[in-house]
Symmetry: C2
């Protein structure tokens, strides 16, 4: 149940990272590590919306022949959001500045997913 | 209205590219260039689903403080899908093999978007 060290490691290893969270598909964050001073983006509101979309994607995956969804990213003007599925109930989400290191973010999140899964 | 050369250029410049399409948010493709022999993935079915999700994201963007969505990617077991908004009505979608060059795909799609927009 020690999620926080993993979330901190993700944020510390990615240039431009704003916050990292373990979330349920119900849109409720289990644990969050957020860089201080960036609360004005109201990331949680966006994440609840994104959790809903991920849930729909999961439901659609059976119908589609593209296989199970493992990773989704949504890039907007003010924030890049990377999401990686951990289990059928939970996913990791990383918010970054638009100028942040996108490739490193994907890489670090891929490494963190099995570690967080082991804590669930 | 000459979309095809732009779509062909995207597919030819990205290792592992399967297909590239200009799509409306109603899920109807305006024009598609698909590499032959990969029809079994039924990409169109997935794209209709994704168009629906993009539409929801656009609608949510006003409520969210993260700004307008410019790019979305959905990575599943058998296919990576990159989408880039062109106008409020149309977007570009690129399907790639999971082992394809993701970074190059994003780059080429970013270059193609204003060119395709100029043809609309």
């Amino acid at each position: 149940m020690a999620f926080l060290p993993h979330l901190q490691e993700v944020v510390n290893n990615v240039d431009g990272a704003l916050a990292c969270s373990v979330m349920g598909f119900d849109g409720i964050a289990v644990e969050t590590h957020q860089v201080s001073g960036d609360d004005d983006l109201e990331l949680q509101t966006a994440w609840v919306e994104y959790a809903n979309l991920l849930q729909q994607l999961k439901n659609a995956a059976d119908m589609l022949k593209t296989g199970a969804v493992s990773e989704v990213s949504i890039n907007s003007e003010r924030v890049i959001t990377l999401m990686r599925l951990i289990t059928p109930e939970y996913f990791l989400v990383l918010a970054m500045k638009p100028e942040g290191n996108y490739g490193k973010g994907r890489y670090v999140l891929r490494l963190a997913a099995p570690r967080v899964k082991a804590e669930l």
